[in-house]
Symmetry: C2
Subunit: 191 residues, 2 copies
Amino acid sequence: MHETKLRLIQTGLALILARGYNGLGIQELLDETGIPKGSFYHHFEGKEDFALQVVDAYMAQAHALLDATLGALDRPPLERVRSFFEAVREGYAAQGYLGCFFGALGQELSGSSEVFRHKIEGCMATIASRLATCLEEARERGDIPASTDPAQMANVLVNAWEGAALRTRLVRNGDPLDGVLDFCFAAMTAR
Amino acid sequence: MHETKLRLIQTGLALILARGYNGLGIQELLDETGIPKGSFYHHFEGKEDFALQVVDAYMAQAHALLDATLGALDRPPLERVRSFFEAVREGYAAQGYLGCFFGALGQELSGSSEVFRHKIEGCMATIASRLATCLEEARERGDIPASTDPAQMANVLVNAWEGAALRTRLVRNGDPLDGVLDFCFAAMTAR
């Protein structure tokens, strides 16, 4: 990716996470990055296109984390699933516990924009689907009960996590994330 | 409450839930309600004060639901806790599954406004605290394991619920709510 475009996306992600999509002004983004307006419109059609490409960049990061954690085949599948969430948690900590970019944008825009609603739902469904594959492996090994529906379980995990991420944004620490993870993983393996 | 004020609050709640705080214009609210600007500023200092009073009104509804559900003493405590969430779910359904007003406002504004961050966290903590009292009753009766920490458990429930409410907003149906509730309640009572 072009260095200018990358810088706009990285700065835009941080600004949207902090202030929301409607709280972001393109001029502010240009001021912050020192990039001229012409360059912005060379790379993006406008604010919506920009935000959609920020979503794509955030999703690429999520895929990279999923590759690294779920792909660590020397570890049992359930540990790999948990390590994905732990890695996401580290990312939140580095940002000062502002929560999840998908959650923030999904909450703010999915009431008013079908484009963003479908875009963010697609991201969450994709993450859940990749986690489900690993949970299916855990089920086959007998690490979670045979009655567990991996797809359903993966969505419960993603959804509970998103709520914990919101609470994290409110309290600005990681306790809600640990609480939900500990509960879900204890419950998943209980029989 | 004055009828004009009540109408502004009810309409404002629906508009903010759909489009967000930054997506709401005061003029739009006045157009929608047919209430003159002078009346708005008679009841509210400005947009922030207005939104804070909408939060108070939504919280009053939450307290009323908690009173009705947790106070139904002829039912076992765990059923009362679940019936609170079921009642909230009915409210979401009536609004077309736009999720939770606290969650939406908390996500949008808690990155940029300490006022809203503390306000929304206070609401969530209060709801969790009321649920915890009922969970403590369940623990004393042996309906959930003695090792359960009611306060911690109540926060996990509220947080997981909030994430399910966000997902509901994305998919526009109640499935995520049922998924999280079923999982949490089965897990809570498992031993």
